[in-house]
């Protein structure tokens, strides 16, 4: 894996780093000198491409211009046959052990690889999601806080209305008081004039009644007993005459 990184970065680093490609150990220390401050590229999504699970794709790309598609296979076959025939690699018991272990490992990776990778990715995703959530909630609360502050400032601008209302109230109270005073004065004067008029009326009425009573009393006292007797006799004769005419009417 490190070798692949060397092949990839060899082209990129030609002439850019003074230290040379051989010293590249960790992907993030590409900017070795303190002058370059550009942000580091994000981590690649997937690992490097491999063919047949082991051999990196870059080898095939490297050999393609010269030897075409079958080049690396020929190279591989030739190398293996060379090592076997010249007994550079000797077949022994370990070979079989290596083959079986290799087979099991390859089977295990092929079967469980993706799910393990998904699990690990999910762990990372959760962390990032939590951080993202924190960031989002912080941003929304900040914008909300700014909105609220602006609203409060707008509210403060209306403070003059309160004092206008107070002054209005005071003016209205004064005017009410003034009007009440005027009305009171008018009513009092009117009452006094009305009293004079009523007093006059009362006096006239009392004089009238007194006079009437006096005249009546005099008239009654001037009736002598003689006149009384005469008037009573006249009344009786009148009554008798009336009785006669009524009886006559009834009889008829």
């Amino acid at each position: 894996m490190l070798s692949r990184l060397v092949i990839v970065s060899a082209n990129a680093l030609k002439g850019s780093s003074p230290l040379g490609a051989g010293l590249v150990q960790v992907s993030r220390c590409l900017h070795a000198s303190p002058q370059s401050l550009s942000p580091v590229a994000p981590l690649p999504e997937k690992g490097g491409k491999v063919r047949h699970g082991i051999i990196p794709e870059e080898l095939f790309q490297l050999l393609y211009p010269k030897t075409g598609v079958t080049g690396p296979y020929m190279l591989g076959t030739g190398l293996i046959l060379y090592m076997l025939s010249k007994e550079i690699y000797v077949i022994n018991h370990e070979t079989f052990a290596a083959a079986s272990i290799g087979a099991v490992i390859i089977y295990g990776i092929k079967k469980f690889g993706p799910s393990v990778a998904a699990f690990a990715d999910k762990l990372n995703e959760d962390k990032v999601a939590k951080a993202q959530e924190v960031k989002d909630s912080a941003m929304t609360s900040l914008t909300q806080a700014i909105e609220d502050e602006k609203k409060e400032q707008w509210r403060v601008e209306g403070r003059s209305m309160l004092f206008d209302a107070k002054r209005n109230n005071v003016a209205m109270l004064l005017e009410t008081n003034y009007r009440e005073r005027i009305h009171m004065v008018t009513n009092e004067v009117k009452k006094r004039l009305d009293y004079q008029v009523a007093l006059q009326d009362l006096q006239r009425r009392m004089a009238q009644e007194h006079m009437v009573n006096w005249v009546e009393k005099n008239v009654v006292s001037s009736i002598t007993p003689q006149q009384e007797k005469e008037s009573i006799a006249k009344c009786i004769t009148d009554l008798k005459a009336l009785a006669k005419t009524t009886q006559a009417k009834v009889a008829v």
Partner: protein
């Protein structure tokens, strides 16, 4: 005895109500009811008083000169307007409220500036999936692990894991 011109400023109670914060709504309602009561009382009183019919009284009252004397004194009477003692106090209150409001607005603006800087920090942050732990520690200083106080992994007390 002419009535005074009343210099009342028209108050838009609806707009006023909008600007009242919710925790002062009670006070606002009290003010409004008071103002309404006062203006209703004012409206119920006629502006000029009932005119006195002097000619009728002249013919009705027998005492000579009494009505004329009353009329003369009545016309000459000048009713003093009630003294205004509260307006200056209200103006003083207004000036003080103005000062307080300025101070509040200043503080509010400072708070807004602070919020804006924090908001900018969040906006200009690099996305989380491109950050390193170093970048994270620079952006959020509270995530920095104290390797001096806790030299062994996990560099924080177990209870905080």
């Amino acid at each position: 005895m002419a009535g005074r011109r009343l210099a009342l400023k028209a108050i838009d109670w609806v707009a006023f109500a909008e600007r009242v914060p919710p925790n002062q709504k009670g006070m606002f309602n009290a003010l409004k009811t008071r103002s309404d009561a006062i203006s209703a009382k004012l409206a119920s009183l006629p502006e000029s008083p009932v005119a006195i019919d002097w000619s009728y009284y002249k013919s009705a009252v027998a005492k000579a000169g009494m009505v004329d004397e009353f009329e003369k004194k009545f016309k000459a009477l000048k009713i003093p307007e009630p003294a205004d003692m509260q307006t200056s106090a209200i103006n003083a209150q207004e000036a003080e409220a103005e000062k307080d409001a300025q101070a509040y607005v200043e503080a509010s603006k400072a708070r807004i500036a602070q919020y804006e800087t924090e908001l900018d920090k969040f906006k200009n942050m690099i996305p989380f999936d491109q950050m390193t732990i170093e970048d994270l520690n620079n952006t959020f200083p509270e995530t920095k692990l104290d390797t001096v106080k806790y030299p062994y992994w996990p560099h924080k007390p177990i209870s905080e894991l």
